[in-house]
Amino acid sequence: MTLHWMAIELIQLLMILFLSPAFAGWVKVVKCRLQGRTSPGVLQPYRDIARLLKKDVVLAENASWVFRVTPYIVFGVTVMAGGVIPLISVDLPLCATADIIALVMLFAIVRFFTALAGMDIGTAFGGMGASREMMISSLAEPAMLMAVFTVSLASSSTSLTQMVTVMSEKGFMIRPSLAFSLIAFILIALAETGRVPVDNPATHLELTMIHEAMILEYSGRYLALIEWAGMMKLAIYFSLGIAAFLPWGIAGSAEPLALALRTLFFVAKLMVGGVVMVLIETGLAKMRIFRLPDYLGSAFLLATLGMIAFFILE
């Protein structure tokens, strides 16, 4: 018996929707362990979302419709992006709707509207967050695309399913081009998801926050949607990294048992990835904002090196 591809798509969307808070919780738990604190448990993000959903919404007097629409757009686009990346199967109907470039641009929509919402209220924090976020993303996006372009040159496709299929068929081997690109990708993913050397998701100190500054005025269900989308984004970036650089074990038959096994394998990869990220986060301190161009520039350089290595060595 094989599952219909629509069913697989549905499973994947539900996974992204309902497992991403657990992944965020897992990251928090590991981080607490490493820093010698007691953790709130893996389930804390679910409790946070549920609490926010129950609360009333408080809006600033001059908030416009852009501010009220943004959480829905952010959530909708993030879910859409979650349906595009192959996690446990390459037979995804949504996969063909958007390739890697479109996927990066989907996240650009999220950022665009979050930044606009930050400027809508007219406080200095919102503008500051928007300005900084757009600055970081404008440097991160080219590096991000360069990193994944190396993979798409190697598989001569920008479609994610095709990339996964071609790369996993080739078997496991260490390629210098992909190694460089992977490092670049990790650096960029930390920047894009607002993790420690670039931004601190836990801070509300005015001078250090970037992403939090933009969404400072949100409350209630709006904040729940944005927070949830943020957790999904973190999981999606990990999934993207797995699909692009470690695609082994994604493609395969659509039998329920095989699917379940691959799901377990995927979750294991995700958990290991989370630990790696926490190690990086714990080992580094947050950078000054104007050191970031150097950081992102070196990521870009690594990605370019990866591409040059691809053309010269492979």
């Binding site: 989907l106 300005s131 757009m134």
Partner: protein
């Protein structure tokens, strides 16, 4: 009726309207709707003609019984001309509707007849440039376009800055026109035909140029058209002239007049010369990349809404030229399918840019109409006063930032795909360097998004910073809204149904160099855009749009099952005194990180001055901050050039002693020399 006749009718209609318009100059209230409605009608007719010419692949030509005895006017409507006829016509139609409302704002302030007449002539000039099929008529139409737009830029001539901008515009337009004339001269001279025979495009097509002369002809034309298109470093007139014109004219100049220059490049390279080495395309590609990146960076530094948009035109012309350069490279290596992909990307971006830039300039015009203010730092919170304008302007912002599912994304995506096909090139260096172009394009896209967050955020969001009372600001009238609404609708439609558009455009590259992508682009059906092959890449805008809308709808419904009260409260001011509008982030502060990172590209002068009361030097009470960000190219290229011109003029000026005897002596000397040479 063949498309060529329809197009000719539309041009005659415009010229006739321009002739008749002065008759109504005493009834301006009547003149405005009458003239702009006929402009709308003529533009729609031309659009239809162009659409039909591309769809049917017709290639009608005609020789008019006009012009000089030995130089009759030739016109032709082939798919390339037809495509650009659509680009010019569709935006002109929308802008003409918009103008009915916009120009009414000048009533009682200044006479509008001149504006109307030159507007109509400007449209006619652009249509004729596209239709012309010989060098003489082309240049005549080119001059009609340049001269009429000069008077439009000069329209608000009481400001010295506008006069200066118009002069600069005229100067650059003519330097460019001379280069184009020389290029045609080279091509006509080498056709081998005697007399005036070589001046038709047909004669140039059949001529085979030697590589050296071919390069001379191409690069002269490239320089001339690049000066018109505002390619860096020939762009300095653009951010001066486009903002100076009335906004409806700015929309046309930025949206479509620049495209006629792109049309010229395509016509010369792919139709008249045809046979070229790869490095010509390389040069076009490099100019395109530089224009794209620098254009958007300069745009980020602007706080005049229209100047910002004008610099974005430089950026978008750059993106169009990336596609064009790639198409030339692929053609020179005989890869027609890849060339067609790059060419279609370039054409698609021409159409898209016309629509979203037209929309944005119309939006900026609406803001200026409502607030009488151009400086973004004096705006803010307009979304509450101008709900329509702001929503439509947002559509333009999203489109130009290249975000799916709007149109800017499709053409940028196609350009990315073309850049990533570089491994097919036989040249090892190109293989490596072309993907770096993709990185620069990504940088451009991301910076454009940052710039439009700034433009929209500072202008429409936050709270009002200006001096006028914001209660006086009113939403603009129906015709202006309608013009913007139609353009916005097209932005969405072109973004959601790219396969249908590509199916239609495809005949242009097929007719020019025999490459086509429609079969592969629609390989999965109209829902999926798959340039090259489905395995290579695919994108489905309708599914993306539907997916996002359905998730949003489901979330919205689920969250609104339980009614939750929304409480409106004053802003949290951190326990200090009231928050004032001046505490918001401004356009200058938003761009500060970019200014700091990319500062080496600008000439920045920053002054901070503490002003203290007279008797208390230690107690400063005012802080003056002055910031001046200038285009580096003024200092690098234009000031030395103008210095040189002045130096030569001073040297030549020594001849002028002011004494009649000396001048007689000069005349005598000249006569002697002429006699010696001619006798």
């Amino acid at each position: 009726m063949p498309p060529l006749d329809v197009a000719g009718f539309s041009v005659l209609f415009l010229l006739g309207s321009a002739l008749l318009a002065p008759l109504l100059s005493r009834y301006e209230r009547l003149l405005i709707p009458a003239a702009f409605s006929s402009a709308t009608l003529a533009s729609l007719t031309a659009t239809y003609a162009g659409f039909a010419a591309v769809a049917t692949g017709s290639n009608g030509a005609a020789t008019l019984a006009m012009g000089l005895p030995l130089l009759p006017f030739n016109i032709r409507l082939d798919p390339l001309a037809g495509f650009f006829l659509v680009v010019v016509g569709i935006l002109s139609a929308f802008v003409s509707i918009y103008s009915i409302g916009y120009v009414r704002g000048y009533l009682g302030k200044r006479p509008v007849t001149g504006l109307v007449v030159f507007y109509l002539l400007f449209l006619a000039g652009m249509f004729l440039v596209v239709l012309a099929d010989d060098a003489y008529f082309f240049l005549l139409a080119w001059e009609l376009m340049a001269a009429s737009s000069y008077f439009l830029v000069m329209y608000e001539d009481e400001r010295a800055a506008n006069r200066r901008a118009a002069f600069l515009y005229l100067l650059v337009a003519h330097v460019g026109a001379i280069a184009i004339l020389l290029s045609f001269g080279v091509m006509a001279g080498l056709t081998g035909a005697g007399g005036f025979e070589g001046y038709t495009f047909d004669a140039m097509r059949s001529a085979r140029l030697s590589p050296g002369w071919g390069a001379a002809a191409f690069f002269l034309a490239f320089f001339g058209f690049a000066a018109k298109a505002g390619v860096i470093p020939f762009h300095v007139w653009l951010p001066e002239a486009h903002p100076a014109a009335p906004s409806n004219v700015s929309a046309l100049m930025s949206g479509v007049m620049l495209k006629t220059a792109i049309y010229g490049m395509m016509r010369v390279a792919f139709d008249l010369i045809r046979d070229f080495p790869w490095w010509w395309g390389g040069v076009v590609l490099v100019f395109g990349l530089v224009s794209a990146v620098l254009g958007v960076l300069y745009a980020l530094m602007q706080h005049d809404l229209k100047r910002l948009l004008a610099y974005h035109s430089v950026e978008n012309i750059g993106i169009i030229m990336i596609g064009l350069g790639l198409a030339m490279i692929f053609t020179s290596f005989h890869l027609p399918v890849l060339a067609a992909l790059a060419f279609v990307a370039s054409l698609y971006h021409c159409l898209n840019h016309a629509l979203f830039k037209g929309l944005l300039f119309m939006g900026a015009g609406a803001v200026i109409h409502a607030t009488h203010e151009r400086n973004m730092e004096e705006m803010g919170g307009l979304i509450h006063q101008l709900p329509w304008t702001s929503a439509l302007f947002l559509v333009g912002c999203v489109s130009i930032s290249g975000l799916p599912p709007f149109n800017g994304f499709v053409s940028e995506w196609l350009t990315f795909q073309a850049l990533l096909l570089s491994p097919a090139l036989p040249h090892p260096l190109l293989k490596l360097l072309v993907p770096l172009g993709a990185a620069l394009l990504a940088l451009t896209g991301a910076l454009a998004a940052a710039c439009f967050v700034k433009a929209f955020g500072v202008t429409f969001l936050g709270s009002w910073r200006g001096h006028r009372r914001k209660e006086q600001i009113r939403e603009v009238g129906i015709p202006m809204r309608l013009g913007m609404l139609l353009a916005a609708g097209c932005c969405l439609a072109l973004g959601v149904f790219p396969t249908l558009v590509i199916d239609w455009i495809d005949l242009v590259p097929r007719q020019l160099f025999g490459g086509e992508i429609a079969a592969s682009a629609g390989g999965y059906g109209w829902l999926w855009l798959t340039p090259y092959s489905p395995e290579r890449a695919s994108y489905s805008a309708p599914v993306v749009l539907l997916g996002i809308i359905s998730v949003v709808a489901v979330t919205f419904l689920l969250l609104h099952v339980r009614r939750v009260a929304i409480r409106r409260t004053p802003l949290w001011d951190c326990g200090f005194e009231k928050i004032t509008p001046s505490m918001q982030y401004t356009a200058t502060s938003f761009a500060m990180p970019f200014r700091r990172i990319f500062g080496f590209l600008f000439a920045i002068r920053q002054q901070v001055e503490l002003v203290s009361p007279q008797n208390h030097p230690e107690m400063a009470d005012t802080l003056n901050y002055r910031l001046r960000v200038r285009d580096r190219f003024w200092g690098w290229l234009y000031e030395p050039l103008s210095e040189l011109a002045f130096w030569c003029a001073r040297r030549a000026g020594r001849l002028q002693t002011g004494r009649i005897q000396t001048y007689l002596l000069y005349s005598f000397g000249t006569l002697i020399v002429l006699l010696v040479f001619l006798g």
